[in-house]
């Protein structure tokens, strides 16, 4: 009986032969990669030209090639100072993710706790958090804990919000189905709600990973004996603008690498728990 045979149109998505290069997609990809690179290249050229043409002093704004030379000359120092910054950023990010997800879950599941602390959490977000950095030095001293604690403090809130939004996102009929099967709330959480929340949690993590770095750098500005933030402050006291820019360049690379790792994790999660 033909009513039992599935509609042909709904069969698996069309597969493309792997042997043929897809020109349209290839050109699109080239445009996506080459255009931004070309834009940056043009900007660097303009910068280089402007510095030379107007004879801007290198203390005010060094030309790109000077930054590059300074980067090569101070490479061992930059690398050594990058280690604490990267480690502390990563640590802050992990702790913030863990705390944020746990707090998000607790706030979603316990109305009592949500009612008592959520307004406080939100209120805390309204304070310009950077202003609290000196307090962290008072409380935690000038060790690595201060930087990690401050990074966590700056980064965890988006994860709380994303986790709460994600957990609330479960289709209500899906929960009804589970309850109809006498599922425990733990089973619903593990098998349904958490996987449904994962994409949202990852979007929170993408914001958090950049915030964690900001937190660590700010803490390094005010207290650290080492790290790229410390190096920037030190270089600025020496009017070594090229070194400041070189340090910022290294920071950008680290930040990008972390961001890429989170995106990779997100892709993996979506492949496992996504729609396709």
């Amino acid at each position: 009986m033909d009513a039992f045979s599935p509609p042909a149109a709904a069969a698996a998505p069309q597969e493309r032969s792997p042997w043929r290069f897809n020109w349209a997609a290839g050109r699109q990809m080239l445009a996506n990669v080459l255009l931004p690179i070309a834009t940056v290249g043009v900007l660097l050229l303009v910068w280089e030209f402007a510095v030379r043409h107007y004879a801007i002093s290198s203390g005010l704004l060094p030309a790109p090639h000077e930054v590059w030379e300074r980067l090569l000359a101070t490479w061992p120092t930059l690398l050594r100072q990058a280690v604490p910054t990267s480690v502390e950023t990563l640590l802050s990010f992990f702790v913030a993710t863990f705390l944020g997800v746990v707090l998000g879950i607790v706030l979603t599941y316990s109305r009592l706790i949500a009612a008592s602390i959520y307004p406080g959490v939100v209120f805390f977000q309204l304070i310009p958090k950077v202003a609290l950095a000196p307090l962290f030095v008072v409380w935690f001293g000038i060790g690595g804990e201060t930087r990690v604690a401050f990074g966590v403090f700056i980064a965890f809130f988006p994860i709380v919000v994303a986790t709460m939004a994600g957990l609330r996102d479960t289709p209500p009929d899906m929960l009804r189905l589970c309850r109809g099967l006498t599922a425990t709330s733990w089973q619903m959480f593990v098998h349904v709600r958490l996987p449904f929340a994962l994409p949202q949690i990852f979007s929170g993590m993408k914001i958090a990973v950049t915030l964690a770095m900001i937190g660590v750098i700010v803490a390094e500005f005010i207290s650290a004996p080492a790290g790229l933030g410390y190096l920037i402050v030190f270089a600025s006291s020496q009017a070594d603008t090229a070194l400041i820019l070189a340090a910022i360049l290294v920071l950008c690379v680290i930040g990008l690498a972390y961001y890429a790792l989170v995106v990779l994790g997100e892709r993996l999660a979506i492949r496992m728990y996504g729609a396709n």
Binding site: A3, P7, A10, R176, G180
Partner: protein
């Protein structure tokens, strides 16, 4: 003893503008092995009725008994199908069908064969490894039917399962369900707003009116089983449909006159 017995069941919600009577004073019975449809316009409380029967909504007044026991919560011998297929997008079709087994902590191996058989009955054998995102709406709903049957429930509760599908797919699904009913005889409650669907599938049709939200008519459908889907073309089928339509329209008329009466008394 009837399998399901509802006695003067009411559901009242406390809304912002006062109490809302979603279901009022509904009484009916369903015999073991009977397929009963509840037919009514949207918003008449028929889904609420099903949720109360499934133990997913509290009953404000009255009682529902299932096998002589009062319904106070969900039971594992119920199978549920909703308007939306509600499949987990990250699980394969087969794993979705086996989902209740995971929740009920039963041995997966004991049900694997059943799952594959069910998928074969609904024509999805070749799709066991696919993810729901790769399926059409009708195919998803077939998976949902298999999932509702996997733990061998003997009461199937269906809340407008085909109303989100297009007309052609819907006719197909009716045939699938008729066929399943031939193979796995269960007790069924089917909520719908399609008269044709109700007549084709059911042993009895209960018509629910909107105001008051109660059962206005209880009609026995005399077609024998196994049913040939071609009965829809018979004169008898048409007559039953028009009889039901008449009942629904009478409900509308009563609703209108009662509203006019209430306005008149308010003045």
């Amino acid at each position: 003893m009837a399998r399901i017995e509802a006695r003067r069941v009411s559901k009242v919600y406390q809304g912002r503008t006062g109490a809302v009577h979603a279901v009022s004073q509904v009484s009916f019975t369903i015999e073991e092995g009977e397929f009963v449809s509840v037919l009514g316009p949207s918003g008449c409380g028929k889904s609420t009725l099903l949720m109360m029967l499934a133990g997913l909504e509290t009953i404000t007044e009255g009682t529902i008994s299932n096998r002589g026991e009062a319904v106070v919560g969900p039971r594992t011998d119920n199978g549920l199908i909703f308007q939306d297929a509600t499949l987990l997008p990250w699980l394969s079709v087969l794993e979705n069908v086996l989902f209740p087994i995971k929740i009920l902590k039963r041995a997966r191996a004991d049900y694997l064969e059943t799952a594959l058989e069910l998928l074969e009955t609904v024509g999805l054998s070749d799709f066991a490894g696919h993810r729901p995102g790769q399926l059409s709406g009708g195919m998803k709903q077939r998976v949902a039917i298999c999932r509702a049957l996997i733990h061998r429930p003997d009461l199937l509760l269906m809340d407008e399962p085909f109303s989100a599908l297009d007309a052609i797919t819907r006719d197909e699904m009716n045939v699938v369900l008729l066929d399943i009913w031939q193979h796995h005889r269960k007790t069924g409650l089917f909520i719908t707003h399609s008269i044709r669907e109700a007549v084709l599938l059911s042993d009895r049709v209960l018509v629910m009116s909107r105001r008051p939200a109660t059962i206005a008519c209880d009609l026995t459908i005399p077609f024998k089983r196994p049913r040939d889907p071609k009965i829809v073309d018979s004169a008898e089928f048409a007559a039953l449909c028009s009889q039901l339509r008449g009942r629904i329209e009478a409900g509308y008329a009563a609703e209108k006159s009662s509203r006019i009466a209430s306005v008149a008394t308010a003045e």
